[in-house]
């Protein structure tokens, strides 16, 4: 869609676009190009010589068992967080949509975790689950569970899943609540008069009506667990023990900044860029269908 009334000016639009495009070039496109360039190169151990090695870095990545582990961790992590957030927040939003009094009170408290930084969320949950001092860790240990996320990879994974889900429930809740509120009351009443039980109404009317929101939230939760959980992983497990909580983004950081392996880190970056592009296109295809201007 285009505006009918537009201004004619040769320089004006460029002047207004300049700040955004300049910053985008300096900090988005140029670094992205460098990453692509570096992903085809290999530095020797002293950083003196670089050699153009075609796809060697990519081949090595997929031979690296730690990278395969990171892919598996990323998948388990994002699917778990997505599932927990969708189910728990739909449940809460459904209840909040039913009641009349106090809706704002509940909403206010439920959105608080959204404002908490991932790194702070990590610190809070790390403390709650610290063996011998954390409240929740002590409950587990009292019940004969040998809880120790710094030694047990599964425990560490549970810890980051819980922390990440906690932060993202607010977001899911707000979208589900808005979506539920937009379902026409008459539809549910009609079904009710026809004798549909609440459970029937939920599965046959509500679930299909909110499915666009569910798909949207699924994508947003995936993007969130992929890219916004660095602070959580950094403050709870540092990707460990071993590589058991290192997701793909965390591995880019470790290989690039800690191990200074630029070739490998860049190749991993490029793989992630391809992945984000795919998700973004999927997202916008879907949005185009849903929203009619």
């Amino acid at each position: 869609m285009e505006k009918r009334a537009i201004f004619n000016s040769k320089l004006f639009p460029y002047f207004f676009l300049a700040p955004q495009l300049l910053i985008s070039f300096a900090f988005f496109f140029w670094p992205a190009l460098i990453a692509i360039w570096q992903s085809f190169q290999e530095e020797d151990a002293f950083g003196l010589n670089t050699e153009f090695v075609w796809f060697d870095n990519y081949i090595e990545i997929f031979k690296d068992s730690n990278y395969i582990t990171a892919i598996i961790v990323t998948i388990i992590f994002s699917i778990s967080v997505t599932a927990i957030c969708l189910i728990f927040s739909l449940f809460l939003a459904g209840l909040a949509n039913k009641i009349k009094a106090g809706k704002i009170f509940y909403q206010t408290l439920i959105i608080c975790p959204y404002a908490v930084a991932p790194a702070i969320a990590g610190v809070l949950w790390f403390f709650l689950f610290s063996p011998s001092i954390g409240y929740l860790a002590n409950i587990l240990i009292k019940n004969d569970i040998h809880w120790n996320p710094s030694l047990n990879g599964n425990h560490a994974l549970i810890l980051i899943i819980l922390s990440a889900s906690w932060k993202q429930i607010s977001y899911n809740f707000l979208f589900y609540l808005a979506s539920l509120q937009s379902i026409p009351k008459s539809l549910l009443e009609a079904a009710s008069i026809d004798g549909a039980s609440p459970l029937r109404r939920f599965f046959d009317i509500i679930i299909p009506m909110i499915s666009p929101t569910t798909f949207f939230l699924f994508i947003m939760n995936m993007i969130y667990t992929f890219f916004d959980t660095f602070g959580i992983i950094y403050t709870t497990t540092h990707g460990g023990p071993g590589y058991s909580t290192t997701n793909l983004v965390y591995k880019v950081y470790v290989d690039g900044i800690v191990n200074l392996n630029l070739g490998s880190s860049s190749a991993q970056s490029v793989i992630l860029m391809i992945f984000v592009s795919f998700i973004t296109i999927l997202h916008f295809r879907f949005v185009e269908k849903k929203v009619h201007y």
Binding site: F29, P118, M273
Partner: protein, 281 residues
């Protein structure tokens, strides 16, 4: 039937309250811990009720001579966080509203290209270009500076799209009328567009404030001096691996660090919810 309705409402409230207890528990427990002595915390016998060291602990955190981490007072860290957040929030809003205005209200060569380039930035979150972005910033002498902490983060496609979408919904007649009155693009922007965008700006403010305040990976890379750290960076540096972490103070600082964004969200809740849901359309 009526009884049934009452029971179901009461049950809904009951389950919601349990949900809220679960959701707010980590924050509540941080508050409890920050009111206890370190000894009580380390003994692992912390109860769910606040202890008696609340004032003492917070006095220690806020006292200007006592340092949270190696020579930096918490006031300096809060100031750093505030400056960076304000720069990111205002910077992003300004450059986005400008570029959205150019794209919607003008026809010019390479218009589609410009839009595509802005769209493309969506596909390049900082996490996938960590190393080269860092190299770029360091070659511009951006390390340990407020520019370095904020400028690389202020280009955003999301904000541009939000404004673009809003501008599209403004009736064309307004622009026509302005042109008949002889107003140029600059006057139309300041006299009509900017006042109309107030709600969108307020909504965006909440989202961007949280985004800016809660940054972690980028400040971690770009700051080496502790005096340039943000409050969140400093908080995570208080945690030691050798068991000497002052947990009672860490929890106090954590609460202080999460308070500004929580206040912004809660006080501007209406705009926040609207902005969040609109910006994703």
């Amino acid at each position: 039937m009526e009884e049934n309705q009452k029971f179901s409402t009461a049950l809904s409230h009951f389950i919601l309250i349990i949900g809220i207890i679960i959701i707010t528990f980590p924050i509540y427990y941080a508050l409890v811990t920050s009111s206890q002595s370190l000894q009580t915390v380390l003994s692992g016998k912390t109860t769910l009720l606040p202890g008696g060291n609340f004032l003492e602990n917070y006095k220690e955190i806020f006292s200007t001579n006592k340092n949270i981490i190696q020579g930096i007072s918490i006031w300096r860290l809060l100031l750093n966080s505030l400056i960076v957040t304000i720069c990111i929030t205002f910077g992003k809003t300004i450059i986005s509203i400008m570029s959205a205005y150019a794209i919607v209200y003008f026809k010019f060569p390479f218009q589609k290209t410009a839009f595509a380039l802005i769209f493309l930035t969506l596909m390049l979150p900082i996490e996938v270009r960590i190393v080269p972005t860092f190299q770029m910033a360091s070659s511009l002498n951006f390390l340990d500076s407020y520019q370095g902490l904020s400028v690389p983060l202020i280009a955003s496609a999301t904000a541009t799209f939000l404004f673009r979408q809003f501008f599209m919904s403004i009736p064309d007649e307004l622009c026509e009328a302005a042109r008949i009155d002889g107003a140029g693009p600059l006057r139309f922007f300041f006299d009509t567009i900017l006042p109309l965008s107030k709600t969108s700006i307020a909504a965006l403010f909440v989202i961007l404030f949280i985004y800016g305040w809660n940054q972690y990976l980028w400040p971690l890379l770009i700051t080496t001096k502790q005096s340039m750290g943000t409050i969140i960076i400093a908080l995570t540096q208080m945690i030691a691996n050798d068991g000497t972490t002052p947990w009672h103070l860490v929890m106090g600082v954590a609460l202080i660090a999460m308070l500004p964004p929580i206040l912004v969200v809660v006080l501007m809740q209406k705009w926040f919810v609207k902005g969040l849901i609109d910006s994703e359309k």
